[in-house]
């Protein structure tokens, strides 16, 4: 299967506002190292998940791939074409093929645009359809995402819809251009539990129907397990483990992955789980300690862990981990 997206040594550093004194007396620049040398590729048609806790850089990576942010260094490839430096017209053409669904259904729709106009707008921007043709396509999309009867929804404003409905609108807006690749940033975390499966099913349906490839970003590993083909666990800007869903969950290799998996609540009463205790808190992304960035909290820390940062190596077939213990 061919590769549709590849990133190589991707980095994104955000400059930190210095206090007045620091501005005057030091030349040192401080950065938040949100994404710190990330390399992976996504195969056409698969669902690749970036998982991790908040602040690990997964959302930033997603935004970098669709060029909503400019990378500090590294390369991004879409269908073998280097898109890292694309600008203007070429970038706009690219946007037709890559789309995003955002986390917050309340914030991702323009409160002053009817949803009919909002969903039709991408067609207008790219000059793909107008007037009656555009209206027809919008109604078609409404039907697809389950907003029925479609005619009724055309002139409604976002505040007249529920969270689940809004997310469907957002989904509709992103598929109307028939993209090839979609970044889904926590698409169901802010939706009621009873509606999550519906949205997820819709997304899976579009994979079949449109041949979509997904980059799924989430902190909810239970959902990740349900829908992903391959998962990469991120910690403090780096990938610490990556592999197929089966190998990752059956045989987690990195201590962080093991701790994460042991902490996930299981819907069974009084289940006695052995949660792996992690010391301390996630260190700040501005001052990352030398060596393995997880070492400060790792229960299995050895001497060599604090010296140099471990690289991602293939421990089993298609199962990569960045740790000296394996």
């Amino acid at each position: 299967m061919s590769e549709i997206v590849r990133v190589e040594h991707l980095k994104k550093y955000f400059p930190v506002q210095k206090s007045i004194f620091e501005q005057l007396f030091t030349r040192k620049k401080k950065f938040v190292r949100a994404v710190d040398d990330v390399t992976f590729s996504i195969k056409k048609g698969e669902i690749f998940t970036l998982a991790g806790e908040s602040g690990c850089g997964k959302t930033t990576t997603g935004k970098l791939i669709v060029r909503l942010l400019k990378p500090t260094s590294g390369r991004i490839y879409f269908k073998e074409e280097d898109i890292t430096q694309l600008k203007r017209e070429k970038l706009r053409l690219l946007r037709r093929k890559m789309q995003v669904i955002f986390q917050d259904p309340y914030a991702s729709l323009n409160p002053r645009m009817t949803i009919g106009k909002a969903v039709g707008h991408p067609l207008e921007i790219h000059g793909l359809a107008k007037g009656e043709e555009k209206k027809r396509k919008v109604l078609e999309v409404f039907q697809k995402v389950g907003l029925t009867p479609p005619q009724q929804f055309m002139n409604l404003f976002p505040h007249q819809l529920s969270g689940g409905q809004r997310q469907r609108v957002a989904l509709g807006r992103s598929i109307i251009l028939e993209p090839e690749f979609m970044v889904a940033d926590e698409p169901v975390s802010m939706i009621d539990v009873s509606l999550r499966t519906t949205i997820i099913d819709l997304m899976l349906g579009f994979r079949k129907e449109l041949g979509l490839t997904y980059l799924f970003v989430t902190h909810d590993l239970a959902v990740a397990k349900y829908i992903s083909d391959r998962i990469a666990i991120m910690y403090l800007g780096r990938i610490v483990e990556m592999g197929s869903k089966e190998s990752l969950f059956k045989n987690p290799l990195h201590p962080y992955t093991k701790a994460l998996l042991s902490a996930i609540p299981v819907p069974e009463p009084k289940k006695k789980r052995e949660a792996i205790e992690l010391k301390g808190e996630v260190p700040s992304a501005i001052n990352i300690p030398p060596g393995c960035r997880f070492s400060s909290r790792c229960p299995f820390k050895k001497d060599e862990c604090t010296k140099t940062e471990p690289e991602l190596v293939e421990a089993e077939k298609n199962h990569f981990v960045a740790c000296y213990l394996s």
Partner: protein, 325 residues
């Protein structure tokens, strides 16, 4: 006598656009040291229920009918100054968002001192301070940090401080409203473990309010499932998990991904939670229920016992329902 008894409680919000019956006919009891889970989605009324137990329902909410008895004493009509002796002391509340629940210009020590001295005016500032430090230690936070400001702590630590404030006076009942929603899964596990151990040490009863059925199932003795303001099912955790009776509970259980299972088939619940200004007639769940019968559309079912400590609000189990089919 149970620690907490709620009897046919009804809470309404009198808004400019109409009355929202946020909580309807809720009855349950809680013994000392037990954990009760309130599960439900947005609009289910679980938060309102929690707030009404401590009489902090925000305007324009009003407790309409029913009784809330703490140690046998009805607190619904209690004058405010007497209620203030109960709040914090007998019943404590942990709010949802730790980012905004602490006073940003007050040091942590100040929070503890204010709390302790409000309820125990004879305690000196120094003593209150020391007690605060002890609490922090029990929470796993370095006691010296009592002199820090809230913004110097991370979200997880702030939530722990909130919990610390709640248990500082050794209350009999702690109500935790979505205590882990804003937190990551590892911190979440730590906080829930902390609540559990504190509960055991101090013999506190806990009401855990959450939309995450997984945490509720894992950590609670008894569970109430709320939907659109109604208590639709009430059972022990194991009973609810093994024999869910209400169609909503059943569907809900089938729609949660379980990280320990492979090849799960999750089912979706059609439709969406109702508009609380205009809920459906009859049983509020009928538009989304695959078992909906004629009677469900016109009449509201009442709570029926279907097993030891197992109540459900559904015509599938009542004679009326069975008869009409």
């Amino acid at each position: 006598m149970p620690l907490l008894e709620v009897d046919s409680l009804a809470v309404d919000y009198r808004t400019g656009r109409g009355i929202v019956h946020a909580v309807n006919d809720v009855s349950f009891f809680l013994e000392k040291g037990e954990t009760l889970g309130l599960a439900g989605e947005s609009g289910s009324g679980k938060s309102t229920l929690g707030l009404s137990i401590i009489r902090l329902v925000p305007y324009p909410g009003v407790i309409g009918k029913g009784q809330i008895r703490i140690d046998g004493r009805d607190i619904v009509a209690l004058p405010e100054h007497e209620m203030q002796t109960i709040r914090g002391r007998k019943v404590a509340y942990v709010f949802q968002d730790p980012m905004i629940s602490l006073n940003p210009v007050k040091k942590i020590g100040g929070h503890f001192v204010e709390l302790i001295r409000t309820h125990e005016p004879n305690v000196s500032k120094k003593e209150a301070f020391e007690r605060g430090k002890t609490v922090l230690q029990n929470l796993g936070i370095q006691p010296e940090r009592i002199n820090d400001y809230p913004h110097q702590f991370s979200g997880g630590m702030r939530q722990r401080i909130m919990i610390g404030l709640a248990i500082a006076l050794n209350p009999d009942l702690v109500i935790a409203d979505e205590p882990t929603t804003a937190l990551d899964v590892i911190v979440q596990a730590k906080i829930l473990d902390l609540l559990e151990s504190l509960r055991k040490t101090y013999q506190m009863a806990l009401i855990l309010i959450s939309h995450d059925l997984s945490i509720i199932l894992e950590r609670c003795d008894k569970i109430i499932v709320m939907y659109a303001g109604h208590m639709v099912e009430y059972a022990d955790a194991t009973e609810l998990h093994d024999r869910p009776a209400h169609p909503y509970t059943q569907k809900l259980l089938q729609s949660i991904p379980n990280v320990e299972l492979s090849d799960q088939k999750l089912t979706a619940i059609p439709g969406s939670p109702p508009d609380m200004l205009n809920p459906p007639n009859g049983c509020r769940f009928w538009p989304r229920c695959s078992y909906a019968m004629e009677i469900c559309r016109v009449k509201e079912p009442s709570l029926i016992g279907i097993g030891p400590n197992h109540l459900v609000r559904c015509f599938l189990y009542s004679e009326e329902g069975v008869q009409s089919e």
